[in-house]
C-alpha cells in the first residue's frame, strides 16, 4: 500500500516539475503529498490514541478527500487510487516558500521519505501520527493554548489536523452538526473563510394577539360613545 502511494506521489510531483503550472490553481501550486496525510491516517486501520478522535471514531476527517474517497475507518481494502489528477493549493502557507519549496518546509523530501514530516529539531515524525508538533514550529502560542486545554479541547483527543487543513489552515472547521438534535456527527469543512448561511436567523417577536370579537365590541362601543357625545353636544345647543 505504501508503494502505491509513493508511486502516486512521485508521478504527481513529476508532472508538476515537468508541466506548466495550472492556471486555474492560482499562483502557487504545491505537491499532493500533504493531501495524503489524512488519507494515510484514515487508511491505516487503527491509528494510535493520540489522534483517535480524528479517524478511528469517524468523527472528523477532511471532507475534501472523504467526499470523493469514502473512508471506512475499519478499512481492510486498499487505499483508493486516483490522486493523480489532484492539485493542492496552499492558502496562507503559500508564504512559506516558492512552489514546492513551501511543501518541503513541513514535508520531508518525497524522494527520500515521503511519509515523514519535519519537527523543529529536524527529526522526522510519521505522517500518520499526531503531527501537531510540526505546527508547533511556527504556531507555538496556539500549541501552548492547545496543550493548556484552552484551544481545541472541545472534542476528545483533537489534534491540529482535527480542525485545520494544513494546506488551508487559516480557517477550517469540521464539526458536529446539531449534536443535541441527535443527528450525530457529520462532517463539513469550509476551507478558507467563506460566507455561508447560518442555521437560522433570529426569531421574530410573537405577533400581537387581538381577539376579533373584542374589535367588534369596541367598534360597537365606539358607535355608542359617538351617539352619547352627539346627544351631549346637541343637548348643549338646544338648551
Amino acid at each position: 500500500m505504501r508503494c502505491e502511494l509513493i508511486d502516486a506521489l512521485r508521478s504527481q510531483i513529476g508532472s508538476f516539475q515537468s508541466g506548466p503550472l495550472s492556471a486555474s490553481a492560482g499562483s502557487r501550486l504545491a505537491a499532493v503529498i500533504a493531501a495524503l496525510i489524512v488519507a494515510f491516517a484514515l487508511a491505516h486501520g487503527s491509528p494510535d490514541p493520540a489522534h483517535a478522535g480524528q479517524a478511528a471514531s469517524g468523527d472528523l476527517y477532511f471532507d475534501p478527500c472523504a467526499s470523493c474517497h469514502p473512508v471506512d475507518p475499519d478499512a481492510t481494502r486498499a487505499f483508493p487510487s486516483g490522486f493523480e489528477g489532484h492539485e493542492i493549493v496552499l492558502v496562507g502557507h503559500d508564504r512559506l516558500g516558492e512552489e514546492s519549496e513551501a511543501c518541503l518546509v513541513c514535508h520531508d523530501d518525497p524522494s527520500r521519505d515521503p511519509g515523514k514530516l519535519k519537527l523543529i529539531d529536524g527529526s522526522l515524525v510519521d505522517i500518520a501520527g499526531d503531527v501537531s508538533g510540526v505546527c508547533f514550529r511556527c504556531h507555538s502560542e496556539r500549541y501552548r493554548d492547545w496543550q493548556a486545554g484552552t484551544h481545541g479541547t472541545l472534542r476528545p483527543s483533537c489534534t491540529a489536523l482535527g480542525c485545520h487543513d494544513p494546506h488551508a489552515p487559516a480557517w477550517t472547521y469540521g464539526g458536529p452538526l446539531l449534536p443535541l438534535a441527535g443527528t450525530g456527527f457529520q462532517v463539513r469543512v469550509l476551507s478558507d473563510r467563506q460566507p455561508f448561511t447560518p442555521i437560522a436567523g433570529p426569531p421574530l417577536p410573537a405577533p400581537v394577539e387581538t381577539p376579533g370579537w373584542l374589535v367588534v365590541v369596541t367598534a360597537l362601543g365606539a358607535l355608542a360613545s359617538i351617539g352619547l357625545i352627539g346627544f351631549m353636544v346637541r343637548g348643549g345647543s338646544t338648551r
Binding site: P211, S225, M232
Partner: protein
C-alpha cells in the same frame, strides 16, 4: 401664614333630603336625582368606556401578555407613560393646594378640596396602570413581603400607595373641617413632600438606568417635577372651569388669573430644562456615539410626530399666557392649559418610547404601537378617574362655603394688612364673564 385656631363650627345638623352622612361627610345622593340628561349621558359614556376597559382587562388576564403591543424591544409601553403622567398630574395639582397653607396663597383656597380630590383620583389611576399591566396581579404581594431596596420602583409604588391614603385622609379633613386649620396645615406638611418624593422616585425609575442612555440623566428629576407641576396646574384649571360650568363650584376670576400666571412660569421653567437636557445630551462635544442618530429620531417620522408637538404646544401655551392684557380671558387660559396637558402626555409618551428606539445591543427597534387591549385598558382607567370626579362633583361638598372663604381671607388680610380687593363673583358660569 394663616393659622386659624377655631374652625367655623360643626356642619349643619339638619340634613337636607337625599343627603346621607357617612364617615363624617355629607354625601349628597339627592343631587343625582336633579341631574340633567346631559350629565347622565356623560356618565353612561364613561361607564360604557369603563365596561370596554374591564372587558379588555379580562381578555388580558385570560390570555396573558400576548395581547399587549409591548415586546422585548419595548418592555414598557402605554401603561408606564400613563403612570408617569397621572403621577405628575396628581403631584402637580397638590402644589397649588399646598401653597394655600404654606405660602398663604389665599386666592387658591376655593380649589383646595378639588385639588386634593383630583390628587387622590389621579394617583389611584396611576396605581391602576401598574396593576392592570401585570398578568398575575396577585403576585404584587411580593412587593410587600420581599421588597428590594435597590429598586427605585419599590419607592415610587409605595409612595403612590401612601400618597393615595394621605390624600383621602386629607380630603376628609378638608371636607369635615375636623381639626381645623392647624390639622390641615400639618397634613400639607406631610402631603407636599410626599408628592415631591413620589414624583422624584418616578423620575428615578428612568434616570437610574445606566443601560438606557437617553434616560440616564440627572436633569430628568427636575424636568419631571416641573412638567408635573405645570400639567397639574393646567389640569386643575380645566377642572375648575368645568366644575364652574356645571354649577358645582364657583371661583373668582382673580383665582384663574393667578393660576394662569403660575402656570406660565412653570411652563417656561419646564421648557428651559427640556432645552438644557437636549443640548447637553446631543451637543457634539458631549454626545456619546449613537446619540446623534437618536437626536434625528426625535424629529423624524414616527417619534417626531409626537415630539415636535410637544415643543410647539409648550411654546405656544407659554406665548398665549405671556401677554398680560389677554391673560385673564378664560378662552386663552383654557386653550393654554389644554395645550399643555396634551403636551405633557405626549412628552411622557415620547420619553418612554424613545428610550427603546435603540435596544441595549444597538439594534434599532420598530416603533412601538399600543395594541387595542392596551388602549382600552388605558381608556378604562381614564374613565375610572372621570367617573369618580363626575360623581364627586354632584355628591361631595367640594365647594367651600362662601363665608368660610371670606373668613379666611379676612384673617389673612388682617394678618398681612394686604389690600387685595377682588370683587367676589356671583357663582354664575364664568364663561359669561367677559
Amino acid at each position: 401664614m394663616t393659622r386659624m385656631g377655631d374652625h367655623v363650627g360643626e356642619p349643619a345638623i339638619a340634613l337636607r333630603p337625599g343627603v346621607k352622612r357617612f364617615i363624617g361627610i355629607d354625601w349628597d345622593i339627592g343631587a343625582l336625582r336633579t341631574a340633567g340628561p346631559r350629565y347622565w349621558a356623560f356618565v353612561s359614556l364613561i361607564i360604557a368606556v369603563l365596561g370596554l376597559g374591564l372587558l379588555a382587562w379580562g381578555v388580558f388576564l385570560a390570555r396573558g401578555t400576548g395581547v399587549m403591543g409591548m415586546r422585548d424591544a419595548y418592555p414598557w409601553g402605554l401603561w408606564f407613560a400613563a403612570y408617569m403622567y397621572y403621577v405628575g398630574l396628581s403631584a402637580g395639582g397638590l402644589v397649588v393646594y399646598a401653597s394655600v397653607h404654606l405660602f398663604g396663597a389665599e386666592q387658591f383656597r376655593p380649589l383646595s378640596r378639588l385639588a386634593v380630590l383630583l390628587a387622590a383620583v389621579l394617583v389611584l389611576m396611576a396605581l391602576l396602570t401598574i396593576i392592570t399591566d401585570l398578568p398575575r396581579p396577585w403576585r404584587v404581594i411580593w412587593m410587600l413581603l420581599t421588597p428590594n431596596p435597590t429598586s427605585p420602583f419599590v419607592y415610587t409604588a409605595s409612595a403612590a400607595t401612601l400618597y393615595l391614603i394621605v390624600c383621602l385622609i386629607d380630603l376628609r379633613i378638608l371636607i369635615t373641617g375636623k381639626g381645623g386649620e392647624r390639622l390641615a396645615y400639618r397634613m400639607t406638611l406631610i402631603a407636599l413632600p410626599l408628592a415631591v418624593y413620589l414624583h422624584t422616585t418616578t423620575a428615578f425609575v428612568l434616570a437610574l438606568n445606566k443601560s438606557r442612555e437617553l434616560w440616564n440623566s440627572a436633569v430628568m428629576v427636575p424636568i419631571f417635577l416641573t412638567s408635573a407641576t405645570a400639567s397639574g396646574i393646567a389640569m386643575l384649571l380645566i377642572c375648575a372651569y368645568l366644575m364652574q360650568k356645571i354649577g358645582a363650584m364657583a371661583f373668582r376670576s382673580s383665582m384663574f388669573r393667578s393660576l394662569s400666571t403660575l402656570l406660565m412660569t412653570v411652563i417656561i421653567i419646564d421648557l428651559f430644562l427640556l432645552a438644557v437636557e437636549i443640548i447637553t445630551v446631543f451637543w457634539p462635544t458631549a454626545a456619546h456615539p449613537g446619540k446623534a442618530a437618536r437626536l434625528a429620531h426625535f424629529f423624524e417620522a414616527p417619534y417626531g410626530l409626537m415630539f415636535i408637538p410637544v415643543l410647539v404646544l409648550g411654546v405656544s401655551a407659554a406665548t398665549l399666557l405671556a401677554r398680560r392684557s389677554t391673560r385673564h380671558l378664560p378662552a386663552v387660559q383654557l386653550t393654554a392649559a389644554a395645550m399643555y396637558v396634551v403636551a405633557i402626555f405626549l412628552k411622557r409618551y415620547v420619553l418612554m418610547s424613545m428610550g427603546f428606539v435603540v435596544d441595549p445591543l444597538g439594534q434599532f427597534a420598530s416603533p412601538y404601537t399600543p395594541s387595542l387591549v392596551e388602549v382600552l385598558i388605558a381608556l378604562g382607567i381614564l374613565s375610572v378617574g372621570l367617573l369618580v370626579v363626575t360623581l364627586s362633583a354632584k355628591i361631595l361638598p367640594l365647594q367651600i362655603p362662601e363665608d368660610e372663604i371670606e373668613a379666611h381671607r379676612r384673617a389673612h388680610e388682617s394678618a398681612h394688612s394686604g389690600s387685595q380687593d377682588d370683587p367676589v363673583l356671583h357663582p354664575k358660569p364664568v364663561l359669561e364673564v367677559r
